[in-house]
């Protein structure tokens, strides 16, 4: 035992190589990331009784109940749909399984507010079928549907990956012990993928909790929308800060619930097998299963694409569709997203390096702090930075610099996950070998570690890029006056039912996201999907 521990120590990364400047950089990054939450607390605390009384209002209780209900409905629906799709694709004899395997994940390329736009532009007021089919989808039902369609792919991807990893011998053993297929599913398969289902459900819940785009378009008064409106309409902004803290508390509760569920499931380590499993015959269930897949993919992917195409054509014939007005928001989106992606990776590097090189209690705490931004909905980050900038950095308020800073704070965890994995994959002995061959620490890092970690770093930057493209609340609150992105364009046009104006921008967003998502799905990169999910708009 002592021998083993001693060995572990000998193999650890070399501390002699962790430089003070690296530590300083990492601490600065972690401090920047925790700034919004800290300042939100400070601001709310300084608000006095009047501000806190917002919590006691009956409306607040109603908003809270509505928020919890929406999160619950979306989480349950997304978990059921995603789990069922994963089982059908990985374990049953569903026709054209490989097609469904990819198609089921593709709605990931459709931002949730574009899914909302698609629903509104079809059956909402002023929609294509608006008068013929008044399905009054505005409000709870519409928001829940749009959010479910946007979040089930996370559950699907994680569960499908878990099913692929699960040892098929376990299910075969259960068959051999006399269990029929449904019993095997219930008693063996489901417990095996429960951690993955739980992780997917967590993503769906966090996404819904932090979503602003869908609920504002569907005019559903949940916390994010109410916070935004309080901030926009009231002179005293402190109640918004208090409600923001309430939202953070809800988020933390969701995280704790999931951590508890995961703690119980932790013992089920994934085995290594990758043998093909003989599919379960669906029999008479084949047609309904096929219809189910078609319905989900139809609503999540084909409906948005079809509706966008319809409105572009209709707008084109009316002379208001594709015109040069889209160029400025498109360039704005691409520009800030590219810069945010690069900046997030640069900011993530020192933290990731420190954690990988000298894994100690305080470096891990630093890392956790940096991941903490995940628990902050975009509205909250934006609000806190607005307060902070308005009071201390007047010159920076409503500048691109502050907007980019907010993006980096918001999406750092995604870049950090990528950077950490990439750096951990580089054998520390390689850099030591370079040192022994006469290179200084910087030169060794640049010549060896950086090129080897580059693909992973680039992947992290890509995810931040994509998240920034889709980002809505931070952009709305912090953008310079007159600065438009594709996301704000879609949002503001849809808010006033100008679907023909919203459609080109929305289609462009989907077109940018699609290849990235497709690549991710084809590579079966569940972890990356998880990282991306946390950047929900």
């Amino acid at each position: 035992m002592t021998v083993l521990r001693a060995r572990g120590r000998e193999r650890r990364g070399s501390r002699a190589l962790a430089s003070p400047s690296l530590t300083v950089a990492a601490v600065l990054v972690a401090a920047a990331v925790s700034l919004p939450l800290v300042y939100l607390v400070v601001r709310a605390a300084s608000g006095g009784e009047a501000a806190w009384s917002v919590l006691l209002r009956p409306q607040t209780a109603a908003v809270l109940a509505r928020t919890i209900a929406l999160v619950a409905v979306v989480t349950v629906a997304a978990t059921a749909i995603g789990g069922a799709l994963a089982w059908l694709v990985e374990r049953s004899d569903l026709p054209v399984r490989r097609f469904w395997a990819v198609a089921a994940a593709l709605p990931l390329a459709v931002p949730s507010y574009v899914a909302a736009l698609a629903l509104l532009a079809t059956v909402g007021p002023g929609g294509a079928l608006g008068e013929a089919l008044r399905l009054d989808l505005i409000g709870f039902g519409g928001a829940a549907l749009a959010l479910t369609l946007s979040t089930y792919p996370y559950v699907y991807l994680l569960t499908a990956a878990a099913l692929r990893r699960a040892d098929p011998a376990l299910e075969e053993a259960a068959r051999g012990l006399g269990r029929a297929a449904p019993a095997v599913l219930r008693e063996v398969t489901l417990p095996l993928v429960r951690p993955a289902l739980g992780a997917g459900a967590l993503l769906a819940a966090l996404y819904t909790l932090s979503d602003f785009g869908v609920v504002s378009l569907m005019r559903l008064d949940v916390l994010t929308r109410v916070i935004f409106q309080q901030y926009r309409t009231l002179f005293d902004r402190t109640p918004a800060a208090v409600l923001g803290l309430l939202l953070v508390v809800l988020t933390v509760i969701v995280l704790i619930l999931e951590a508890r569920a995961r703690g119980r499931a932790a013992a089920r380590a994934a085995p290594t097998a990758a043998r093909p499993v003989p599919p379960v015959a669906l029999g008479r269930g084949r047609a309904p299963a096929l219809a189910f897949c078609a319905l989900v993919v139809g609503l999540g992917l084909l409906l948005p694409l079809g509706v966008l195409a319809y409105w572009i054509l209709r707008g084109g014939s009316a002379g208001t569709g594709l015109d040069v007005a889209i160029v400025a928001p498109a360039l704005g989106s691409l520009g800030v997203s590219a810069v945010a992606g690069a900046a997030a990776v640069v900011a993530a590097l020192p933290v990731a390096l420190l954690v990988v090189r000298s894994p100690r209690m305080w470096t891990r705490a630093l890392e956790r702090l940096s991941y903490g931004a995940n628990a902050l909905p975009g509205v909250v980050v934006a609000l806190a930075l607005v307060f902070f900038a308005a009071r201390y950095l007047g010159a920076l308020y409503q500048t691109l610099a502050l907007l980019l800073f907010a993006y980096v704070v918001r999406f750092l965890p995604q870049a950090l996950a990528g950077a950490r994995t990439a750096l951990a994959g580089v054998n520390p002995r390689l850099e030591e070998a370079a040192r022994a061959l006469g290179r200084g620490p910087r030169s060794a890092f640049a010549a060896i570690t950086l090129p080897l970690a580059a693909p992973g770093l680039f992947a992290g930057a890509t995810i931040v890029f994509l998240s920034t493209m889709k980002e809505l609340p931070v952009t709305l609150l912090l953008r310079p006056i007159g600065f438009e992105t594709l996301a704000t364009e879609v949002w503001s046009a849809t808010s006033v039912s100008a679907y023909a104006r919203a459609a080109p921008a929305a289609l462009l967003l989907v077109a940018v996201a699609a290849p990235i998502v497709l690549r991710m799905v084809v590579r079966r990169d569940g972890a990356r999907a998880e990282a991306e999910a946390l950047g929900a708009g």
Binding site: A6, S14, R435, A436
Partner: protein, 345 residues
């Protein structure tokens, strides 16, 4: 002196990994450091290389103080070549660029024939000139090891450190590569410190052998001497199978045991324990039976027998496999001619 450590101490937390190590390696010498895993031998190597800071003590490389007394020279300024256990070849660089990596910039350039001359020389030294353009993953295990060696030797270091260089190779390759590596190191006139947990490797490779246990060097000397005269029971047992026999030394140089009298120069009078190697015992089939064969382990070129002696209990005996004794055979065991046993306490 190529390298010299004095009073070297390194602890991770409360647990000392290296304590009070004094080690001197002469120029051109090949020093093997042998010890079980966790004994601190890798930490010692990493201290010399500069990847760890010593808690106390000094390290000198080529006479220059590199660590201790407030001085700490960075690894890149120590002129030490290192061959890592997993070789640590840069996976994105060709063999040639790996080897040229440590050369000064002007010598890294490509000379006549499109190759960096010094890298080429190093590759020739290890016989890999025909694989210069390959990437590390395209090499066999043995070739990777030679590439790592060439990379460490190319800049002409003061000292080469080898960390368990043969542990990731097939057993069948090891013996051949051991000889090859030794020849390459001798050819390059390199000074080398090699760390290993494999007794055979340490005994066959080093000019001198340092045995480490729990952070300390417990014995240091030529391999033959360490093997023949282990400092204590633990070292005796760690270097190979051994029979511990209690005995009494009456007159200088001879120890009387229940198995007979052994020559043991330097033994002081009184009760002692002897470490007797299995090959220092002999078996006969004659009338003077005193033991029975309990177990036989056939190892090809030799055989290891476990005997039960009629008075003394269990004994290990190793013999060439020319003549085999069956399990259950009654035999006569006695000290081999010219057996010199060593006193271990």
């Amino acid at each position: 002196m190529a390298v010299e450590t004095r009073g070297l101490v390194k602890a991770f937390g409360p647990v000392p990994a290296v304590s009070e190590v004094d080690l001197t390696v002469a120029r051109g010498e090949l020093m093997a450091v042998l010890g079980p895993s966790g004994c601190g031998k890798t930490t010692l190597l990493r201290l010399i290389a500069g990847f760890e800071r010593p808690g106390r003590g000094e390290i000198r490389v080529g006479g220059r103080l590199v660590a201790g007394d407030g001085v700490f020279v960075a690894p890149e300024q120590r002129r030490i070549g290192m061959v890592f256990q997993d070789y640590a070849l840069f996976p994105h660089l060709s063999v040639e660029r790996n080897v040229a990596f440590g050369l000064p910039r002007r010598e890294r350039g490509r000379g006549r024939g499109g190759r960096a001359a010094r890298a080429q020389t190093a590759l020739e030294l290890v016989g890999l000139q025909h694989k210069a353009e390959r990437l590390p993953h395209e090499l066999s295990g043995g070739e990777r090891q030679r590439a790592a060696l060439a990379r460490a030797l190319a800049p002409g270091p003061e000292l080469v450190l080898l960390d368990e260089p043969f542990s990731s190779l097939d057993a069948s390759l090891r013996a051949a590569l051991r000889r090859e590596v030794e020849l390459i190191l001798r050819d390059a006139e390199a000074t080398a410190v090699l760390v290993t947990h494999d007794q055979e490797e340490a005994l066959s490779l080093g000019d001198r052998l340092a045995v480490m246990r729990e952070g300390r060097i417990v014995q240091l000397g030529p391999p033959e001497e360490v093997y023949a005269r282990p400092a204590d029971r633990w070292t005796a047992g760690f270097l190979g199978e051994v029979n511990l026999l209690a005995g009494m030394c009456r007159r200088g140089g001879a120890v009387e045991t229940w198995l007979g009298v052994f020559d043991s120069p330097g033994a002081g009078a009184g009760r002692v324990h002897l470490a007797v190697r299995p090959e220092q015992l002999d078996l006969r089939v004659d009338r003077a039976v005193n033991a029975e064969v309990v177990e036989r382990e056939f190892r090809g070129h030799d055989v290891l027998y476990r005997l039960r002696h009629e008075v003394g209990g269990s004994l290990l005996v190793q013999l060439p496999s020319l003549e085999l004794h069956e399990v259950g055979a009654r035999v006569h065991v006695r000290p081999a001619a010219a057996a010199v046993a060593s006193v271990v306490d």
